[in-house]
């Protein structure tokens, strides 16, 4: 049996592999963020990452390096500002979000000629994922999945009842910082596929869909991953055959699934 056309090209194979990895880690992280009312953190870090990409392009280093540095520094900064208690969580996020965007815009105006490059990071360029990009995506993705697998019960405990977890003696502050760092890595990994502007959608929407239908925490996690993979594969396929932007198509698929789930009755048990 011949391969379907979509699988005959190396760039599409890489796009699908990258998509599957991102489609797996984004909703896993998303479940924890949505339940902790920190959905905005993903968007914030995406904008901070944009600043990193711009600086990276300006200095001539790999954009991913700049992105990863910026995202991790942003994660630490946000967590510091949030846990100091001097600002409400949302206000700290808003400062970093607009600050990241501001730095990006200023740096872009300083340099010239990399506007097109930056555009691909804004809206995603999944078909431009090279072999080296793919390895980076797979490696970072496995780091995120491994961390969540190893610390699953602790992450559940702090998500369900942070104070209760603290009383138990679970290192809540360290885990909060780690979770934010994992969000940062996820954003960096996802930006090649969905684009920085749509990355938070991939983190938040499948999680929100699964939360409507879940009967346990574990089933919420698996449900989110399934919703997300359906959206990623559907979006990439649609983009290939209809010649539309992959990032946007993926997010629209995710929203369609969310709408469909909203029509289903909630579980009663």
């Amino acid at each position: 049996m011949p391969f379907p056309e979509i699988l005959q090209y190396g760039f599409m194979q890489r796009a699908l592999l990258a998509g599957v990895m991102i489609g797996t880690i984004a909703p896993v992280i998303g479940i924890f963020l949505v339940l902790r009312r920190l959905s905005l953190i993903a968007d914030t870090l995406a904008h901070v990452t944009l600043a990193g990409v711009a600086v990276g392009l300006l200095l001539g280093m790999a954009p991913v390096t700049g992105a990863l540095l910026a995202a991790l520094l942003g994660a630490i900064g946000i967590e510091r500002l949030r846990s100091s208690g001097r600002l409400f969580g949302e206000a700290a996020l808003a400062i970093f979000l607009s600050g990241g965007l501001a730095v990006a815009v200023v740096v872009i105006s300083l340099g010239s000629g990399f506007t097109v490059d930056l555009f691909s990071y804004l809206f995603g360029a999944i078909t431009a994922v090279g072999p080296r990009d793919l390895w980076l995506i797979l490696t970072l993705g496995l780091v995120v999945l491994g961390a969540v697998a190893v610390l699953y019960k602790e992450l559940f405990a702090i998500t369900f009842d942070e104070e209760g977890a603290r009383v138990q003696g679970i290192p809540v502050d360290g885990l909060n910082l780690l979770l934010t760092a994992l969000v940062a890595v996820t954003v960096v990994v996802a930006m090649r596929v969905a684009g920085i502007l749509l990355t938070s959608a991939l983190i938040v929407i499948p999680a929100a869909t699964a939360l409507r239908l879940a009967r346990s925490f574990r089933s919420a996690l698996w449900g989110a991953v399934i919703c997300s993979l359906l959206a990623v594969l559907g979006g990439i396929t649609a983009s290939f055959y209809l010649d539309i932007a992959a990032g946007g198509a993926i997010v629209l698929c995710a929203i369609l699934l969310f709408a469909a789930a909203s029509l289903l009755p909630r579980p009663r048990t």
């Binding site: 339940l35 190893v150 610390l151 699953y152 019960k153 602790e154 559940f156 405990a157 369900f160 009842d161 104070e163 209760g164 977890a165 603290r166 009383v167 138990q168 003696g169 679970i170 290192p171 699964a210 939360l211 879940a214 009967r215 346990s216 925490f217 574990r218 089933s219 919420a220 579980p267 009663r268 048990t269």
Partner: protein, 262 residues
Amino acid sequence: MRTSAISPRVSTAVKPPPVAELESVSFSYGAEQVLDQVSLRVERGDFLGVIGPNGAGKTTLLRILLGLLRSLGHVRLFGVDIVAFRDWQRIGYVPQKAVAFESAFPASVFEVVISGRARRAGLGRRFDTHDREAAQRALETVGLLPYRDRLIGRLSGGQQQRVFIARALANSPELLVLDEPTVGVDVDAQEQFYSLLHRLNREFGTTLILVSHDIGVVAQEVTQLACLNRTLVFHGSPQEAMRSGALAQMYRAESWVVAHRH
């Protein structure tokens, strides 16, 4: 090194240190002093009710005891200064139901109960058969085994409260601390709840500290009463509290707060 740091489970010959000990504990939020020189001992097997009007510092006292707030003075748990205390699995905490979680949280009853053993199981380890059996037993104790796979948000307020007790019990704690546990729980469920606490106290020998503003009910249920109103107004048995007039004074303080508010 403190001699009292020796585990009482090992040395039965020596009288075990008090489960919890506060010595001249004071605490202020900014300029507002919430606790003033409070000293209190909780002995093994006590069922202590901490009562007082709103704003008396009850919740602050509890948060200090759980290591969530640092205060002036000394706090010792099982004879160990709280700064050095690491044995948190010996203490179970049942939070106010209303603030503990979101009713739409997608967690089954069993997932919530076994999460009480997260620390004991160890960082980075998975729950094993032992953990699952302990969670199962805890659910049995509170009478909710048939509900183990239900979403916690679908349970009644009284049942949810018992899930939180089971989460604390999954660790077999020696001390159970409860913060306003019956807020938003109907009267029948309250009765069931207190009979469960009595069983824990008498059959399992669990030391209990219960914080409540519900003076009347608590005074009936506990063996020791601490009346708090910024300072420790009274500490002793409920009968003595009645005789000394401390209880009446608490009632007046409470009704004053209520009258003042309306």
